[in-house]
């Protein structure tokens, strides 16, 4: 175990994973989508360190693997290997028949575009829907998930003004709409909405009153000005912007030896 961790030894992705892991609580149900290695690492790290009662939901299977000595990230093909630890299938034709219980469920979302109120777009970019400039992959299940889950995290692989935009061309999830703490309640959306937006540069949260995106912390070596320069709208800036806490030696040890022994988070 490294007795002393310094920021230079860490990739931004490792910092993101450790930050997210600390925010996840035991007994929560953590749903991880396709091609989200940072999120997968975060969930597995939390499960091993402080989440013995977490339920991990991967591709229709539900598992608790806290007692596994090592948890290498599998190269998730859509095959039997992903179900080897399953305790049940979440998708026996009932995928959306227990949203009542989704207050315990947490999920993570990326986006082609994300706006200042945490609305996201996976549909596409361009003024005319019939002939989009960029056709996105589609909404998957994010409109329903974002409506009902206890809370969710926007997790971006890159931080750029092309992604973090003043206004999404299309909204595939409703985060805080056009703002306001009661925006979701007024629409009848029961879930807790987006809590953080985590990127390779920083962590952002939402102003308690108007739910506008606000800088929460910058990763080591990043300045608030650098974040603003890569953001397509004016971020709320607190007087003091703390540095995102880096992983403790124990966290880093578990992350590098049990969660990501192949170092995928250091090569992104």
């Amino acid at each position: 175990m490294p007795s002393d961790v310094s920021a230079q030894d860490l990739s931004p992705q490792e910092i993101m994973a450790a930050f997210l892991a600390r925010d996840l609580k035991d007994t929560e149900h953590l749903m991880v989508g396709v091609a989200m290695p940072i999120v997968e690492a975060a969930v597995r790290l939390a499960h091993l360190l402080h989440g013995p009662n977490m339920e991990l939901i991967f591709f229709g299977t539900r598992m608790n693997v806290a007692d596994r000595h090592t948890l290498p990230l599998p190269a998730f093909a859509w095959d039997n290997r992903v179900v080897r630890w399953a305790e049940s299938f979440s998708d026996t034709g009932h995928r959306f028949e227990d949203v009542k219980h989704w207050h315990k469920r947490i999920f993570f979302i990326g986006g082609v575009q994300v706006d200042p109120h945490g609305n996201t777009n996976l549909i596409g970019v361009g003024p005319d829907y019939a002939t989009l400039r960029f056709r996105g992959p589609g909404s998957v299940g994010t409109p329903t998930l974002s409506t009902h889950v206890g809370r969710y995290y926007i997790v971006l692989n890159s931080h750029s003004p092309r992604i973090l935009v003043e206004r999404c061309d299309y909204m595939s999830t409703y985060g805080w709409g056009s703002g306001g703490a009661d925006a979701r309640k007024k629409l009848g959306l029961p879930g807790g909405g987006p809590k953080y937006c985590v990127t390779p540069l920083c962590v952002m949260d939402f102003d308690e009153e108007d739910k506008h995106m606000r800088l929460h912390s910058v990763h080591p070596g990043v300045t608030p000005e650098a974040v603003q320069a890569q953001t397509g709208f004016a971020l709320r800036m607190p007087d003091q912007v703390p540095t995102t806490p880096i992983p403790t030696p124990e966290e880093l040890h578990v992350l590098r030896t049990r969660v990501d022994p192949e170092g995928r988070l250091r090569r992104m």
Binding site: A35, G60, A77, D91, F96, R133, R135, P143, T144
Partner: protein, 291 residues
């Protein structure tokens, strides 16, 4: 008295039940033997409910007019399936924009004989703007704002599963795809291709494992999901899929040669599924072990 009728047919006969312009739902694991037969036959103007690279192949092969779409990722780091992306951007296909909860609501409305089902996921988003079939309405009991999702009615649903008996009692290994049973219940007609046909007695040993009772037709095609996975039998052939993805990407950039070659070699020259497997080669197939 006559005896019980077998539901087993071959892939050519199965795809003969599909006509140009029909709505076809495709489950997962992907029933690729049937998808290839659709391409071989050159069916046109289909409305398809499908995802990923099998959707991409059907579009690239010119079979598709409309996509009921909730996710069309390319995989292998390519965020959007190339032929889907290009055809959508050019307006060559119509997209019925939806998401998983809306899709299952529409399929369930069809299965339950209802003119609509209400759904909350999507309220506040652009979905009802880009898909005018989704009506925003006020619920008659509490006055809440919801989406009314109309029935989605596949003429034919195509699925892949582990085993079936001759009478269409299907059992999966490792569960059916999350949406397969919705598609089957909503469809007029369901064809299930299977790795193996088993005795009725084998089915009766564990009736709880029967995921689909009485599928209309069963097609026996070992390795029939290749190049995709089939739980309990083989993993995905990523090298093959990557070859296809590269060819489709090149075609979208204006160089269709590799894509033409792909379709010729794997869909048009083989006359049957067995010919296709010969083309792939047994050594490669046996290399796709489960662990």
């Amino acid at each position: 008295m006559e005896s019980r009728t077998s539901h087993i047919i071959d892939e050519v006969e199965a795809v003969r039940r599909i006509e140009d312009g029909m709505t076809v739902a495709i489950g997962s694991p992907t029933p690729m033997a049937l998808v290839r037969q659709i391409i071989r036959r050159g069916l046109k103007d289909l409305t398809v409910v499908d995802v990923g690279l099998s959707l991409d192949m059907l579009i690239a092969a010119g079979c598709v007019r409309k996509v009921v779409s909730y996710y069309a990722g390319g995989g292998f780091g390519v965020p959007v399936a190339p032929a889907f992306r290009q055809a959508a951007e050019r307006g060559e296909i119509e997209v019925w924009e939806c998401e998983e909860g809306i899709l299952t609501s529409g399929l369930q409305a069809a299965a339950q004989g209802l003119p609509f089902l209400p759904w909350r996921g999507g309220v506040g988003t652009s979905l009802p703007e880009v898909n005018p079939d989704l009506k925003v309405f006020t619920d008659p009991i509490r006055g809440e704002t919801l989406l009314a999702v109309p029935p989605i009615k596949p003429d034919v649903t195509l699925l892949h599963a582990a085993v079936s008996d001759a009478y269409g009692n299907v059992q999966h290994v490792g569960g059916p795809g999350w949406i397969d049973l919705f598609m089957q219940r909503a469809a007029d007609h369901t064809v299930v291709q299977v790795e193996k046909v088993v005795a009725n007695e084998d089915i009766r040993k564990d009736p709880w494992a029967t995921t689909i009772a009485g599928a209309d037709a069963i097609v026996r095609v070992p390795y029939g999901a290749h190049p995709f996975y089939s739980r309990g039998y083989y993993i995905q052939d990523n090298a093959h899929l990557k070859d296809y993805l590269d060819a489709s990407t090149a075609a979208a950039k204006g160089d269709p040669a590799a894509l033409h070659a792909y379709f010729a070699r794997y869909c048009r020259e083989p006359e049957t599924h067995a010919d296709y497997l010969e083309q792939i080669g047994i050594r490669r197939l046996l290399g796709l072990h489960e662990y």
